[in-house]
């Protein structure tokens, strides 16, 4: 599969999916007017990727989302459910959610997602570098 890359905009996050290393990243704020339009191609890529994924490969879905609006949240729910299904079918997938300690919404959001899932879900609090 080809890598999947979308540059960040003011209202959409940067997407960097590297199928070979299994390193999939989404980073940035997400509040597009039409979230389904933005996430539809991402979801279909993930569908195909997870379907082809071998049991020996390990995949990390890394998220850093300072703000996501309600409709984007719905899309992430769908995305994470896809990983949950892959996990339940025995594939080695994990979530790594990076939070900024100053931004309480991020942590709340990550916590809420983790509660619904059984796959490995790591919440990492970024240490301040400033």
């Amino acid at each position: 599969m080809d890598p999947f890359v979308i540059e960040a905009t003011k209202s959409t996050p940067a997407v960097r999916f590297d199928p070979d290393s299994g390193n999939l990243q989404v980073e940035g704020q997400s509040y597009p007017e039409n979230a389904f339009k933005f996430y539809e191609p991402i979801m279909s890529w993930i569908d195909r990727y997870l379907a082809e994924l071998s049991r020996s490969a390990t995949v990390t879905f890394q998220l850093e989302l300072p703000y996501i609006n309600t409709s984007s949240t719905k899309c992430f729910v769908m995305l994470l459910e896809k990983f949950e299904e892959a996990h339940q079918s025995g594939k080695q997938v994990a979530i790594r959610w990076i939070c900024n300690p100053d931004n309480e919404n991020e942590l709340e959001c990550a916590d809420e997602f983790r509660e619904d899932l059984t796959l490995p879900f790591q919440i990492i609090t970024k240490t301040e570098t400033e």
Partner: protein
């Protein structure tokens, strides 16, 4: 009046470009300069060549031709004289002392024949024996004597060593130069006994000079060693000296070079005219031929070339200017074409902008009307005032209409209040609020004052049915967050779907989180059961309640552009919860505005705050 500043491009006519005019002028000047330069060089080279040709070829040719002519005439005269001198009959007649009448007849006939048949002016026999001077036509012109100085030539000739001598004689009266060719007549003794010869005028030659003349202002002269003019193309100059016509220095140079083969020089006359002059020797006569030609006549043909060149330059210049203008206007000016295109595009953009503005006005009118409808379904202030001791509402759709709403339903035994956040903003969000409020109004009829959670469950089922979202998979997934508080005579109950209730009273701040499952979304099961939360009221309990959508706490801002945050929201209540709600409203608004700075509103905002009348 102040002069307006003009842009470098005249907007009224973008095709006018002063640059093109400048370039055209400059190119024209360059071309004119080049043509003048080339023309001048060619002119100078041609002039130089023409003068060179005149000096080395033309002048020499004229001089040689005339010289050959004169030489020919004189040689012929010499031959004729010698033939006469060697005629046996003439010799015998002279030696015999002119005694034989037959011989005398023959001899005198010979003299006649020379004049009549051969074109000489004179022919003569002068005898030293008889001293008779015989001329043509049997005339005995006289006798010579040693005592007569006019006859000195005869005795000199007789005594001389040369058998033939040429004499020139300028005759003032006849204004003509005569040539006399004398030959010695010698008998058996070998001693000259007579001088015979012919004479002729150079008048004929003078006429011929005219044919050799280069131009009307050129001159030809035959001069001797002293500079006396024997013959010229103009008879009036004959007999004068060269000094009369040439500057002294030039005359000296000519006379000083009498023995040279050929002399070529140029000089400027007193009148300022430049002349070329050749001096050419005429060997048969110890003369020199001078040919003088004004320089301007040599190079006269160049004046025509000069005029032609000037006309050519003018024509070229005009053609080039027209060509440049044509090329720059029609063909090769991308800048001008770009301007033209830009003007067209600007026109089109202006048209599209007007069209879009018109459409936008329509859409905005439509949305403005939608806002009136949305506002009309929200509770009226009087309803809130009637049921609560104090209250405030912050309702700020991000766009003109939005997905956030608040709701109120009164019953004799109590009141239900809710704040909801439907998916989407703007018109789609507003659509959803209509659905939500309509459903709430219907379901509230069944009086769930005691059990707000049941109302949420019914609302969830109703939403899923209405939006066809019973199944987990589907194209749409819309719903809402809702916080519902039911206030009856003695108790306050809360149920939330993705919503939190903040209570404030004697015991400080109480935060009551509702269930996380929102209403209507596919992930929320059809029969999902929400939880009721009962809050302590009355003494030491809360009497102020706050419901908010996520718009307020999620608003970005601050130094790092993070969300406002729920803790900060709660801390405002903690800080000023005991103040009148009107004051608190101002505090909420101020804090949010400060946090946002200049950032735009990210989501719809709805906050409802209520203060209960004291419980009975």
């Amino acid at each position: 009046m102040k002069k307006s500043i003009r842009s470098p491009i005249d907007r009224r006519n973008p095709l006018y470009d002063s640059g093109t005019v400048k370039v055209t002028l400059f190119a024209g000047l360059v071309i004119v300069f080049s043509m003048l330069l080339i023309g001048s060089i060619v002119y100078l080279l041609t002039e130089k060549e023409a003068v060179k040709k005149l000096k080395t070829k033309d002048l020499a040719y004229i001089a040689q031709s005339i010289t050959a002519k004169i030489d020919g005439i004189i040689s012929r005269g010499k031959e004729t004289s010698l033939v006469l001198a060697r005629d046996p009959e003439v010799i015998q007649w002279v030696e015999s002392g002119e005694t034989d009448a037959v011989q005398g007849r023959h001899a005198l006939e010979r003299l006649d024949s020379l004049v009549d048949d051969f074109g000489y002016s004179n022919s003569f026999i002068v005898s030293s024996i008889t001293s008779h001077y015989w001329g043509e036509h049997d005339k005995l012109l006289g006798t010579v004597s040693r005592s007569n100085p006019n006859d000195a030539w005869f005795y000199t000739m007789l005594a001389g060593r040369d058998p033939v001598v040429v004499n020139f004689d300028y005759n003032k009266e006849r204004n003509n130069t005569f040539v006399f060719i004398n030959a010695q007549l010698s008998g058996q003794t070998g001693k000259p006994t007579a001088v015979v010869g012919v004479g002729f005028s150079l008048e004929e030659l003078s006429k011929e000079f005219a044919t050799y003349k280069y131009s009307s202002d050129s001159s030809l002269w035959l001069i001797d060693r002293k500079g006396d003019i024997y013959l010229s193309d103009r008879p009036e100059r004959d007999g004068q000296n060269l000094h009369a016509f040439l500057p002294a220095a030039v005359t000296d140079q000519v006379l000083g070079g009498m023995d040279k083969q050929q002399q070529v020089m140029d000089f400027v006359s007193g009148g300022g005219t430049r002349y070329d002059l050749i001096s050419y020797p005429i060997e048969s006569a110890d003369w020199r031929l001078l040919v003088q030609i004004p320089r301007r006549e040599t190079t006269g043909f160049l004046r025509t070339i000069k005029a032609d060149t000037a006309i050519a330059i003018l024509i070229s210049l005009v053609s080039i200017i027209f060509l440049f203008l044509f090329v720059s206007r029609r063909l090769a000016d991308p800048y001008k074409r770009a301007l033209q295109l830009n003007t067209e595009l600007e026109k089109q953009i202006a048209l599209r902008t007007r069209e879009l503005a018109a459409r936008n006005d329509n859409i905005m009118d439509s949305i403005a009307y939608a806002k009136r409808i949305q506002e009309s379904i929200l509770p009226e202030p009087i309803q809130l005032e009637n049921r609560f001791a104090e209250h405030f509402v912050i309702w700020k759709p991000r766009d003109i209409v939005g997905g956030d709403f608040y709701w109120l339903r009164s019953f004799p035994e109590g009141v239900m209040a809710a704040v909801g956040d439907c998916t989407g903003h703007g018109v789609p969000g507003a659509f959803m609020t209509m659905l939500a409020i309509s459903a709430l109004n219907q379901l509230a009829e069944e009086r769930h004052l005691e059990d707000p959670a049941a109302l949420l469950s019914l609302l969830n089922a109703e939403f899923k049915r209405t939006l066809h979202q019973e199944k987990r998979e589907g194209m749409t997934d819309d719903g809402m967050d809702l916080g519902l508080v039911c206030i009856s005579r003695d108790r306050v109950r809360f149920a939330g779907a993705g919503s939190t209730l903040y209570g404030y009273g004697g015991g400080g701040l109480q935060v009551v989180k509702g269930d996380r499952r929102s209403i209507g979304y596919r992930r929320t099961p059809f029969d999902y059961v929400y939880t009721n939360h009962e809050l302590r009221v009355g003494d030491g309990g809360a009497d102020r309640f706050y419901l908010t959508t996520d718009g307020f706490p999620d608003q970005n801002g601050g130094v790092k552009d993070y969300s406002f945050g729920r803790s900060r929201f709660a801390s405002i209540i903690e800080a000023c919860g005991s103040e009148p709600l009107a004051v608190q409203k101002l505090q909420f608004e101020r804090e949010l505005a400060d946090y946002m700075g200049g950032k735009p509103q990210r989501d719809d905002i709805a906050v409802l705050a209520l203060r209960l009348y004291p419980m009975s």
